[in-house]
């Protein structure tokens, strides 16, 4: 039954559904599980649906089925009981029914769901009844489910193979690398690209508009009239503005840049500019921010449908954003407050998004992030965030 195992998985954030749990029971019914090894593999493939959780699963499994790392030894006992109950129920429902002092037919009437709940309730009762919640299962009481308690049917404890190699496997934590949730890494890039590709309006390669053709043909009383549509894919313009100054952006710059260089194969019209911390009069087309300046004022001549993506941590001294002469570079003195520049961009282009490599929790510690968030919709630079940003860029303003 492994109810406790199931709940631990859920508690630790693995989305395990009851349906899949019952499916696991079914697999055991069918005699597909002969050892702890089998259980490890089968339970994982049935319950855990992403390699991201494999590491967590390994840890919980190792924790659950081996007492080495266990602080509370009684948890092992509970598992023994849960395991035993499972075994008994699968092999000999009558015996278990007798043990629990309940009619077998009554037990049979229960759906597996109810049954699980029933077992769990019984286990909880035991907790309260015996040791004031200190220990889960009484070890010397008269409880039928107790370890060495009174059990007329002679319940076997722990019928599952003692082969511990599954635990060894679990302890190896082979899937540690897959559990990273943090910002985009190089490896995740390809996937992120797929998300971006969605931004280019897709649609059938076939440029005949079939629906309209049929409609028009009908209107023509069956004389075929073929309607052509323009291709949509080439229209999208993307401008990428990257904050490549300051130590805070340093770790991300490679990732960001590579990411959008890939994008150039997707978007016919992709421009990349760089800035430091925030945007004043100019941005630069070269990463050194020296040779190829581009006046922000010229942005207004660009297609208003252009998608603007700004990548930066938006974290700086407030005066850089708010004061008219806020730029930290001497040659950039007469600027007007940078926040006005940002508002100008947001007003000129209706499809804007700001990608922030810092995690959402960190945003709240920075005042400038808050201010900029009021101007641009801000997203985390993670797969999820990127997807949200892309969705936003494709749908906003419509």
């Amino acid at each position: 039954m492994f109810v406790n195992f199931f709940y631990t998985l859920r508690e630790r954030g693995i989305p395990v559904t009851p349906t899949s749990f019952l499916r696991l029971q079914k697999a055991m019914h069918k005699g597909l599980v002969h050892s702890l090894d089998d259980f490890y593999t089968v339970a994982r493939s049935v319950l855990v649906k992403s390699e991201r959780y494999f590491d967590t699963y390994d840890q919980i499994f190792a924790h659950h089925f081996k007492n080495a790392s266990l602080e509370d030894p009684t948890a092992v006992e509970l598992n023994e009981v849960a395991r035993a109950m499972l075994e008994e129920w699968l092999q000999n429902p009558k015996e278990l029914a007798d043990l629990l002092g309940i009619d077998k037919d009554q037990l049979k009437k229960m759906t597996p769901d109810e049954l699980i709940q029933y077992f769990l309730d019984r286990l909880k009762e035991q907790t309260e009844a015996h040791h004031g919640g200190n220990k889960w299962i009484g070890t010397g009481g008269t409880s039928p489910t107790g370890h060495s308690g009174y059990h007329p049917g002679g319940m076997r404890v722990g019928g599952v193979s003692r082969n511990h190699s599954a635990i060894k496997v679990a302890l190896e934590r082979r899937y540690r690398d897959y559990s990273q949730e943090g910002p985009l890494t190089q490896i995740q890039m390809g996937e992120a690209m797929k998300r971006l590709r969605r931004m280019a309006p897709t649609g059938p390669k076939d440029i005949v508009n079939v629906d309209k053709t049929i409609y028009e043909t009908m209107r023509n009383a069956g004389e075929i009239e073929i309607i052509f549509d323009r291709r949509l894919t080439d229209r999208l313009k993307v401008v990428l503005l990257i904050d490549n100054g300051g130590w805070s952006m340093e770790p991300y710059i490679d990732v960001v840049q590579t990411l959008f260089h890939y994008a150039s194969s997707q978007f016919k019209d992709l421009k990349i500019f760089f800035f430091h911390n925030t945007i004043y009069n100019r941005v630069w087309a070269d990463a050194q921010r020296y040779y190829k300046p581009q006046d922000v004022d010229d942005f207004i001549r660009w297609d208003p449908e252009t998608r603007i993506i700004i990548v930066g941590d938006a974290n700086m001294a407030p005066y850089e954003l708010m004061y008219p002469n806020g730029s930290i570079y001497l040659e950039e003195r007469q600027t007007g407050p940078s926040i006005e520049r940002l508002r100008f961009i947001a007003k000129t282009f209706r499809h804007c998004a700001w990608l922030n490599p810092m995690t959402v929790h960190e945003w709240y510690y920075s005042r400038t992030v808050e201010t900029i968030r009021q101007v641009f919709p801000m997203f985390e630079l993670t797969l999820d965030g990127l997807e949200k940003a892309v969705t936003h860029l494709t749908t906003s303003g419509k």
Partner: protein, 292 residues
């Protein structure tokens, strides 16, 4: 690809075919268990993993080992579910009705219905292996709808008001390259396995399957070099199993090549391993550097 006589390693219990591996595919115990459980539970098996870990090959291996026909549905981004089920060939019908030079009966719509890949798997006379390759390319609606069809093992052909029921439930293998998870309802209906990149021992077995007579010395040095090359920094597409196999083939075909070369840190035919020019450049530079 298939070299030499094919040997099937198969354990046939009474009406209970179990999958243990095929001649060109090295299967680890874990995966074998999962395949067997999925077949017993009659659930699709979703496979994820780096390119080159043999996701697609697994379906071929299952088909080979259980001697079932394999039907491959290559999912494309623009694909609609209906294409995977059946196609109503309206164009041919239009043509027939206008010029009438075929033997088909124009008023019989069924004559113009062609089965798609899923349809073929359902209507096949014997149990088949249905491989749905790269499901992540399609959008979520496609994925969910497809799972509905596979769940119920039937679909309707609207044009002729007929329900196609699966004669035999196919063994379904679905592969995905996505790092991102598929939708929850989808995952809920599949068994899942992630194929990790094979470790050197496993790789030795895999190479052995492809080159049974390979010299031990050469094998060892090739695999060591290969894993070292995978560790190089800044590589966008790391060489995978396929590249290793091709690379060894290239080394073998070069009469001047000696394992000593690899020991000295020189790596011939780098282009076989690194397919992108930027990667190749990176790798070359780092190899030169490491040689001092």
């Amino acid at each position: 690809m298939v070299e030499g006589p094919q040997e099937f390693i198969m354990v046939l219990e009474k009406n209970n075919p179990r999958f243990t591996g095929a001649s060109q595919y090295v299967l680890d115990d874990e995966l074998a268990k999962i395949v067997n459980v999925s077949m017993a539970l009659e659930m699709p098996l979703l496979l994820k993993g780096e390119p080159g870990t043999g996701k697609t090959m697994l379906a071929h291996a299952i088909a080979q080992s259980l001697q079932m026909p394999l039907i491959v549905l290559n999912v494309k981004s623009s694909m609609k579910l209906i294409e995977a089920l059946y196609q109503y060939d309206t164009l041919t019908r239009l043509n027939d009705s206008r010029f009438g030079d075929s033997k088909r009966n124009v008023s019989d719509i069924e004559a113009y219905i062609k089965m798609g890949k899923i349809g073929q798997a359902f209507t096949a006379d014997k149990k088949t292996v249905l491989l749905i390759d790269e499901i992540d390319k399609a959008d979520t609606d496609f994925q969910d709808d497809m799972l509905d069809v596979l769940d119920q093992m039937q679909f309707d052909i609207i044009e002729i008001d007929k329900t196609i029921k699966a004669k035999h439930r196919p063994v379904i293998v679905i592969t995905s390259n996505a790092k991102k998870d598929l939708s929850d309802p989808f995952l809920g209906r599949c068994n899942f396995h992630h194929i990790a990149f094979p470790d050197p021992d496993m790789m030795r077995l895999i190479v052995n399957v492809h080159f049974p007579k390979l010299d031990d010395e050469l094998m060892k040095v090739c695999i060591t070099t290969f894993y070292r090359l995978r560790e190089l920094r800044g590589i966008e597409k790391k060489p995978a199993t396929r590249e290793l196999i091709n690379w060894i083939r290239a080394l073998k075909s070069d009469p001047d090549f000696k394992p000593k070369t690899l020991y000295q840190g020189r790596v011939p035919f780098l282009g076989v391993l690194f397919k992108k020019s930027a990667d190749l450049q990176q790798a070359t530079q780092q190899i030169i550097k490491s040689r001092g």
